[in-house]
Symmetry: C2
Subunit: 388 residues, 2 copies
C-alpha cells in the first residue's frame, strides 16, 4: 500500500453564489488545486457532492466537471454519503493512489444550494434521513438534531447556553477567513437568545447551507516532494457507519461511527487523539461537536460541551487543541458535499504554515472529520506535515 | 497492487417491485452474495445507485443498507455516474481491495423506479444529461439517443430495421433467464414497426427502467480460493469519461470513453478484444451497442450494426462472441444504478459455468461494460476464470 500525500489545494469562497453554476464553482476550485500542484491534468477526478440530483437536477458530475476542466477522458465519478460526500471522495482518491492504480488524483467537493426554489430546497437536506420512516413524516435533519440535543441536555443536565462556546469559536475563526460566509463575531450570551429553528437548535447553532467548491490533489508520497514544496501526508484514512436513524441506535448519545473511524485513522497514523495539533470537526450543529469529542475519547461522556468553555481557551487558535480553525461549518459555511474537502484543504494549509491569520503555530498533525446525517457516516482523515 | 477476485454473487429478479423498498431489494441481493461467499459480513460496502435522491428522496444509502444488512459500523458509501453507477461502485471496491485497505468488500447496485409518481419519474433519467443546457430545454436521454441514432443512420446509410438483431438477441437470451423482466421473444420484422419513443428509438429498442439489486463480494485473489470454490479474477478495471453532452464531442459517433476504458482494462488483463469469450455490453439503446463495438475495434466504423445480422450467429449464446448473455438491459431490464453490478454478476456466473440455460460453453474470459449517459462515462471490467 503506497503512502499518499496532498500536493495541491484550492477552494472558492463559501457564499450564496447566485450567478454561478455547479460546474463553474467546481472548475475554479479544480484549477486552483491543479495550479497549486504545478499540474495541467490528473489521472482521475473523484467528486464529492450530496444534493446535485435534488438541488440541480444533475447527476454524472464526474463527466460534467472533467469536461469543464478540459480533462474529458480521465477516470471520474461521484461519491456520496450525505454531508460526508466530500470525505468519501477523499477516501476514494486515497484508495486509488494507495493501490497504485493511478498516480495523481483530483478530489473535488462541490455543492450549489442557492437559486434552488420550491420543494427541492426545502427538503434537500432531509434526503439524508430515512425517506420511509423519517422524511415521510415531516422530519428534517435539523428537527432530528433538536431531538438529539434535547436528549443530551436532559440526560447530562446541560443548559442551552453551555453550548455557545463552539459557535463563538467558529465565528471568531471565521471572521479572520476571507473565504468564510459569515464573518461576524458572536457575542457571549447571544447564542441562548437566538431564534429557534427546531428547539433547542437555534440559528446560531445550525451551520448555514451554502455554495462552494474545494479541491485537492493527491499523489504517491514518495513522489510528492517533486511536485510540491510542502506536501502533506495522509497518515490515516477511515470511513465507518452507524444506523441511518437515531431510533435504531441503542445509545443515541454515543457516536459509534465517529469512534470507529477516528480510532482506525489514528491507529494508521500511529497517533493518539491527544497528540493532534488541531481538529476540523463537523460542526453542523453544536451537539455534533460535543458528541464527536466524547466519541473520540477527548472528553468524558456528558462533558464534550465543556471543551468550549472558559473563554474558549482550549479550542481557540492559540489553545490546547484548536477546533474548526477557519470557522468550521458554522461560520465558513456548509456547502454540503464540499465540506469534507474544505476541511482537508484547511488542515493542509495549517500544516503547510500557510493559514495566514488563521494559523495554528507549529501545527504538524491535524484530524479532519466529516459526518453524514447525525453521525450515520463518519469519515476521518489524519494529516501530518512531512519534515523537509 | 493486489490481485482482486469475485468470491460471491447475488441478485434479485428484475421487475416492477411495487411492494418492496430500496432497502429490502438491497438487503436480499446483499445476503445472497455474502452467503454465496460463505461470509457473515464484509469489511466495506460500496453502493451503486443512480437516482435514489430523485426517485426515492433517499441519499446516504451506504449507511441505510449497511444497517438493513445488520452490518452497521463497516465502511460504506455510494458511488454515482448515472447509469454507470454500478460499474463505478465495482471500481471503488476493486481499488479498496487492490490497495490492501480492506480485505472483503460487498459491492451492491440497487435501483427502485417503480412506485415513483409525478415529475420525479418523468425526469429522473434525464438528470444524467446536462441540466443547464439539455434538460432545461426538455431533452430526455431517449430523445438524445434518438438524435445520435439518426445521425448514425444518415452518415452510414443504415436502415432502422438493421438494428433489430441486437434486440432479438437480447430477448432470446432473456427468455431463458428467470430473473429477466421481459421474457418474450421478438420476432424478426417487429422491431422496425414498434411504437416510437423518440424517433428512431422505439419501444423495442430502448431498455426498460426497472427495479432490482445485484451484489458481489470481492477479496484478494490469493485468498479467494479459501473463500469460494470458483473465484473469478478481476483481470482489468478502468473508468473513462467523455464530455457529458454529445454537442461537445468533435465526433459524436466515436465513443472515446468506451475506447479508452476498454483498452486500459484489456491491457491490464493482457488480452485483446478478440480474445474474449463473451461481452456484457450496455444495450440501453441499440445504437449504444453498435457504437461500443466500433469503439472497441471489434468492427469497422459504421458497421457495428452488422454484428447483429445473419440470424444472430455471431452474438448468440453459441456464436463467435456472445452478447448480453442473460438478456442485457433490453430484456433482463435496466435497474439503472444496479445494471453494472448485474452485468458483472452475470459474467461471473458464466465464468463459473453456473449460467444454466444461458451458459456460454467453455467461457473463460468476459468483458462487462457499463455506460453513463450516452457514453459520457464508460466503466469496463475484464473478468477471467481462475484455473483450478
Amino acid at each position: 500500500m503506497k503512502s499518499v500525500a496532498i500536493v495541491g489545494v484550492g477552494m472558492t469562497p463559501v457564499r450564496e453564489h447566485w450567478s454561478r453554476s455547479i460546474g463553474e464553482l467546481a472548475e475554479e476550485a479544480g484549477r486552483f488545486a491543479l495550479e497549486d500542484a504545478g499540474l495541467a491534468t490528473a489521472d482521475a477526478l473523484y467528486v464529492g457532492n450530496a444534493y446535485g440530483a435534488t438541488y440541480n437536477q444533475q447527476t454524472q458530475l464526474g463527466s460534467l466537471i472533467a469536461g469543464d476542466l478540459g480533462l474529458a477522458g480521465i477516470e471520474s465519478f461521484s461519491c456520496e454519503a450525505g454531508d460526508a460526500s466530500g470525505g468519501v471522495a477523499l477516501r476514494t482518491g486515497y484508495l486509488a493512489v494507495a493501490a497504485g492504480a493511478v498516480k495523481t488524483v483530483l478530489v473535488l467537493g462541490v455543492e450549489k444550494a442557492t437559486d434552488v426554489v420550491g420543494l427541492a430546497r426545502n427538503t434537500a437536506r432531509s434526503v439524508s434521513l430515512n425517506a420511509d420512516y423519517e422524511t415521510v413524516n415531516g422530519a428534517t435533519l435539523t428537527a432530528m438534531a433538536g431531538l438529539l440535543m434535547r436528549r443530551y441536555m436532559v440526560e447530562h443536565d446541560v443548559e442551552l447556553a453551555q453550548f455557545e462556546g463552539f459557535s463563538i469559536n467558529a465565528h471568531r475563526n471565521g471572521a479572520r477567513n476571507r473565504k468564510a460566509m459569515y464573518r461576524n463575531l458572536l457575542r457571549p450570551g447571544s447564542f441562548g437568545k437566538a431564534p429557534m429553528l427546531a428547539e433547542p437548535v437555534s440559528l446560531f447553532d445550525s451551520a448555514p447551507d451554502a455554495d462552494g467548491a474545494a479541491a485537492l490533489v493527491l499523489a504517491p508520497a514518495d513522489e510528492a516532494v517533486d511536485l510540491a514544496p510542502k506536501p502533506v501526508l495522509v497518515a490515516g484514512s477511515a470511513v465507518a457507519t452507524d444506523t441511518l436513524m437515531l431510533q435504531d441506535r441503542r445509545d443515541p448519545l454515543h457516536f459509534a461511527a465517529v469512534q470507529r473511524s477516528a480510532a482506525q485513522a489514528l491507529d494508521q497514523a500511529g497517533l493518539a487523539a491527544g497528540d493532534l495539533d488541531l481538529l476540523e470537526l463537523h460542526d453542523g450543529y453544536t451537539i455534533l461537536t460535543a458528541l464527536a469529542l466524547e466519541a473520540m475519547g477527548l472528553s468524558e461522556r456528558g462533558s464534550g460541551w465543556a471543551w468550549a468553555q472558559a473563554d474558549g481557551e482550549q479550542i481557540s487558535l492559540g489553545g490546547e487543541l484548536p477546533l474548526c480553525t477557519f470557522g468550521g461549518l458554522k461560520s465558513r459555511g456548509n456547502p454540503s458535499g464540499a465540506t469534507g474537502v474544505y476541511q482537508a484543504v484547511e488542515a493542509t494549509l495549517q500544516l503547510r504554515g500557510e493559514a495566514g491569520d488563521n494559523q495554528v503555530a507549529g501545527a504538524e498533525t491535524a484530524l479532519a472529520q466529516n459526518l453524514g446525517g447525525l453521525g450515520s457516516t463518519a469519515v476521518t482523515h489524519v494529516l501530518s506535515a512531512i519534515p523537509e
